[in-house]
């Protein structure tokens, strides 16, 4: 049995179930308790679990991220919500220098089972400081795991896995996709960290993407099908560790690949994938891998800039035709 849930409610269920299951789990962040979450992801949790386990913080990202790290080192399993990952920049010291390194620098004496979560990426005309993606920043750091997902069912299963994981996990969601609906199974289930999902099978080209760019890729794939091009669409779901095997397997079948990634192009997820594919599937490539990233600029306010900056279905179709050597 499945019911239709929004991403917001699926994430809410994940936290609720894990807090019911394990009393070491608590949620801390700005507006998570009395306001029920800036995006209502934590709706109802304060009522059910009380103010010790659903904790409103002052606006102090570095401070409450560090409190989470200390609590995790001392036996609890915190979920630290950032109102957006843009604000987590203030907390990078605690994520990168501490959560990620506690196990190594203590040589296994202390671990840091913590989840840092919140929305990432652009979300309408929010201008430069509220429109960035952080997958490649965080995934560059050994010690961390990084999930980036908007599919409601998988987001629920992955967040539950993240909360149970003994290593620190960064979970990246999407402001614009919290209302995205999907079939979510009833009852207990987990989705493993580190496994991509094939959302659409096809034999002509592989399109790899993640987070809300999946919602750009899906209509593009349908359009391409009308022209007789069958795209295999892969949702990475986890960025670190990346599921290279699923990508290689698909590339061996399609021989062509387009990566659609809302991050900036330099040293991003798309470059990592292109590198790995040429290394491990060079002989299977019929064309250079093409990527579609956000523009290599900050994102200004006006709608014309947003349109120019972001990948969209038309750009995806153009990129697919490029790797298929079809003149558009």
């Amino acid at each position: 049995m499945a019911r239709e849930l929004t991403l917001r409610d699926a994430l809410n269920e994940a936290m609720r179930e894990e807090m019911q299951r394990d009393d070491r789990v608590f949620l801390m962040g700005e507006e998570v308790a009395e306001y029920n979450g800036a995006y209502k992801v934590s709706r109802g949790l304060l009522d059910e679990f009380g103010p010790k386990r659903v904790v409103d913080t002052p606006i102090a990202e570095l401070g409450f991220a560090g409190i989470g790290v200390g609590a995790a080192m001392n036996g609890l399993r915190p979920i630290i919500e950032f109102m957006t990952w843009n604000f987590a920049v203030l907390a990078f010291d605690q994520i990168v220098n501490n959560a990620a390194k506690t196990l190594s620098q203590s040589a296994g004496e202390f671990s840091c089972p913590i989840v840092f979560r919140g929305p990432t990426g652009s979300a309408g005309q929010l201008a430069q400081q509220h429109s960035q993606t952080f997958e490649s920043w965080m995934a560059n750091t050994p010690g961390l795991k990084v999930i980036s997902i908007v599919d409601p069912a998988d987001a629920k299963g992955l967040l539950k896995s993240a909360i149970r994981d003994d290593d620190p996990v960064c979970m990246m969601e999407s402001e614009q996709m919290y209302g995205l609906k999907g079939e979510v199974p009833e009852g207990e289930y987990l989705v493993p960290i580190g496994k991509a999902a094939i959302r659409r099978e096809g034999s002509d080209v592989t399109i790899v993407s993640f987070n809300k760019m999946m919602e750009v890729v899906k209509p593009a794939a349908e359009e391409l099908a009308k022209e007789g091009i069958e795209a295999e669409v892969i949702d990475l779901r986890t960025i670190r560790p990346l599921d290279y095997q699923t990508l290689v397997n698909s590339l061996k079948k399609t021989n062509r690949m387009v990566v659609v990634d809302e991050s900036w192009p330099f040293a991003g997820v798309s470059s990592e994938i292109a590198y790995a594919m040429q290394k491990y599937a060079f002989d299977y490539l019929d064309a250079p891998i093409t990527r579609l990233n956000a523009a290599d600029t900050s994102l200004p306010y006006a709608p014309t800039f947003v349109e120019e900056y972001l990948p969209n279905p038309e750009k995806v179709i153009r990129a697919v035709k490029e790797v298929m050597y079809i003149n558009a």
Binding site: P58, L62, G66, I67, G70, N98, L103, E109, D166, A276
Partner: protein
């Protein structure tokens, strides 16, 4: 490895703090325990500096020499169940918590027998067994972490408090202010100790803020605060004990500024040209070990021979620690891939 006096003496002394006519407030065992802890740390670090000059130890080495009374006071003023977290000038705190000098020296040598298997070095000793949450290398990062460690104690409703230590430099980080604010807001069992040794690397306290009495920062958050002379182990013990009692009574966080002095530079590469010889000499006359030694002898708490016995035992212990470190192996290179993730089959990129 010889441990001359292993016992924690805090419980015994809490009932015997009334000062007697000759100014002796504590048991002989306590005075000698403090003396031994300070000597152990001092001799360990003097030897570590020597080993550094022989290239046996590399990387950063920040020594605690001059500040040992604080570590000694911690052995009696809080319990071994109370977690402690501090910064990178941390050999003394790790040792006072009970880490063996052999394991610590081996760690400085980068050996697999080290306190942290050669993975931490001078800045990062950690021990779950001793409730020692480590040496943190980022100035001020341990302040929110210590607050979070305290959050877990509050969450589990224990009687423990987290001793969260930092220097005068870290007192200027935003992390301190964010932590103080939340600790007070949630009434967490946390004792903040600022070891004010006068210099943030080469910048004097006076050059970092108009607020030179650092403990006064507590006022901004309604936090109880006090300053104490950190060269006097008795005063330091009493101040920490008073703060710990305040916290354990549920009265909330406490900020203790312990005024101390480091004789050496910030690290081995620092010639400390930012201060005068006169200043250094003045503080060396107030050496915490000398002050305690004078007290013990003047008040006839113990004889010179008894102190000599402790010194000799420490000397033997440190010799053995160096020998142990010398003779131990480096960790195998393959251990590079351990302790990054608890997930045993984590797929590292290895191309």
């Amino acid at each position: 490895m010889s441990q001359v006096i292993e016992k924690k003496t805090s419980k015994k002394d809490s009932s015997s703090e009334a000062t007697s006519s000759n100014g002796v407030s504590f048991s002989k065992e306590t005075y000698l325990g403090w003396y031994e802890t300070m000597q152990r740390i001092r001799k360990f670090e003097e030897r570590a500096l020597m080993m550094y000059s022989q290239n046996k130890i590399r990387g950063f080495l920040h020594v605690y020499i001059g500040q040992e009374a604080i570590a000694a006071a911690l052995t009696t003023a809080v319990t071994s169940d109370d977690p402690i977290v501090t910064a990178y000038r941390q050999h003394g705190i790790g040792i006072c918590r009970g880490l063996s000098t052999a394991a610590c020296m081996a760690e400085l040598f980068g050996k697999k027998t080290g306190a942290n298997k050669g993975k931490g070095g001078s800045m990062h000793f950690f021990s779950k067994e001793h409730n020692y949450f480590g040496g943190n290398g980022i100035v001020g990062a341990q302040i929110p972490i210590g607050t979070g460690i305290a959050y877990a104690e509050y969450y589990r409703e224990t009687k423990n408090l987290c001793v969260t230590m930092f220097g005068d430099g870290a007192a200027r980080q935003g992390s301190l202010h964010e932590s103080f604010n939340m600790a007070m807001l949630w009434n967490l069992p946390v004792l903040y100790i600022c070891e004010n040794n006068g210099y943030a690397m080469g910048t004097s306290v006076q050059r970092t803020s108009n607020v030179v009495d650092i403990h006064m920062i507590g006022d901004a958050y309604g936090m109880k605060h006090k300053a104490v002379d950190g060269m006097d182990v008795e005063k330091t013990h009493l101040a920490i004990k008073e703060a710990a009692d305040h916290i354990r009574d549920g009265k909330g966080p406490y900020f203790l500024e312990i005024k101390t002095y480091r004789y050496r530079g910030h690290s081995v590469s620092d010639p400390a040209k930012y201060r005068t010889k006169e200043e250094l000499t003045k503080y060396k006359e107030r050496d915490p070990i000398l002050i305690l030694e004078d007290k013990i002898l003047d008040a006839k708490i113990a004889s010179e021979d008894e102190l000599k016995d402790i010194q000799d035992a420490i000397k033997t212990e440190i010799n053995e620690a160096v020998k142990f470190a010398e003779e131990s192996e480096y960790p195998p290179a393959s251990d590079l891939y351990t302790d990054n993730y608890l997930q045993e089959d984590y797929p590292f990129i290895r191309d």
